[in-house]
């Protein structure tokens, strides 16, 4: 890790498998926030998102010695694990008769005090509207519009066709627009 160009996630994973501790720190910096952020957007619960992100990263560490370079993107693999862990968590909760979608979205304590009230209101409004979407739509919308994955990448993560991804994201966007329609003025978007 002394060369000028930043090593790829693949290369870092190989270094990690060879015992390089610094590679773990670099991968955590790159991938940890994505895993946590995605889980937080999908689950709407900070503590659960932390658990999911930690578990996903442990699975990444464990698979490192068997990782085949160039076969898949590390980040795509991680998104897939995160999404599967989110689904598993929801299933377990449904088994225990807990409907997390009905729980109001939590406030993110990490946000700085300097943020305006309107920004906070927009943040919360988006999260609240996301939580009203069916689970698969929410996953597709988060991956497409917040994590900025391509449709084929999302298809790989969610194990569905590209057409299904397009359908999920289109329906998700429409549902979000509808959920937020009554709050446009409140969120500072005027009458448009």
């Amino acid at each position: 890790m002394t060369s000028g160009a930043a090593p790829s996630d693949d290369a870092l994973l190989v270094l990690f498998a060879n015992g390089d501790g610094q590679a773990a720190a670099e991968l955590t910096t790159r991938l940890g926030p994505r895993a946590f952020g995605t889980a937080f957007r999908v689950l709407g619960n900070r503590a659960e998102a932390e658990d999911v992100a930690q578990e996903a990263m442990v699975r990444l560490w464990r698979i490192a010695p068997k990782w085949e370079q160039g076969k898949a993107k590390v980040s795509t693999w991680l998104y897939r694990v995160v999404m599967n862990l989110c689904i598993d968590l929801k299933r377990r909760q449904r088994g225990g008769h807990v409907d997390l979608d009905a729980v109001p979205e939590p406030e993110d304590p990490a946000r700085s005090a300097a943020e305006t009230l309107q920004e906070r209101a927009r943040w919360d409004a988006l999260q609240g509207a996301l939580m009203q979407l069916p689970e698969r739509q929410r996953q597709a919308v988060v991956l497409r519009h917040i994590e900025e994955l391509t449709n084929p990448e999302i298809a790989g993560v969610m194990d569905i066709s590209v057409e299904a991804v397009e359908s999920l994201t289109a329906r998700g966007k429409r549902a979000l627009a509808k959920a937020l329609a009554g709050r446009r003025e409140e969120l500072g978007y005027g009458d448009g």
Binding site: Q54, I146, L187
Partner: protein, 122 residues
């Protein structure tokens, strides 16, 4: 027009969400790094090779592989051969066993010793 406006609002919200990703809690970061160190430590600590396979394979592994097993077989065969065709200067073990079984005379048994002493004094 209204639909277009809603799309723009959504795109604006998505852009805000991308710019302001929820920060990873410090505790989570250290937990992830601790997990990474633990996983790496598991690779570097030599683990004893577990015994696998059937009984004979496990036996072979337990005694130290083919060379040890070969030595054991050779030693056993030599012992067997010596047992059947031993050198002439050594007593036949089979005769010894039958002789000891038949011989009930114990020279220093108290009764026999008394008889011997009595004979000496006569």
């Amino acid at each position: 027009m209204a639909e277009h406006g809603k799309d723009m609002d959504l795109d604006d919200l998505f852009a805000m969400a991308r710019d302001e990703r929820p920060e990873m809690p410090a505790g989570l970061q250290s937990a992830i790094l601790a997990d990474a160190a633990a996983v790496q430590a598991g690779w570097t600590t030599p683990q004893p090779e577990p015994l696998r396979g059937g009984f004979w394979l496990q036996l072979r592994q337990a005694v130290g592989g083919w060379p040890s097993l070969g030595g054991m077989v050779a030693a056993s065969a030599a012992g067997l051969w010596i047992g059947f065709t031993g050198p002439d200067f050594l007593p036949d073990p089979v005769t010894l066993i039958s002789a000891s079984a038949e011989e009930e005379f114990v020279p220093y048994d108290s009764y026999d010793l008394a008889v011997l002493l009595a004979e000496d004094t006569q």
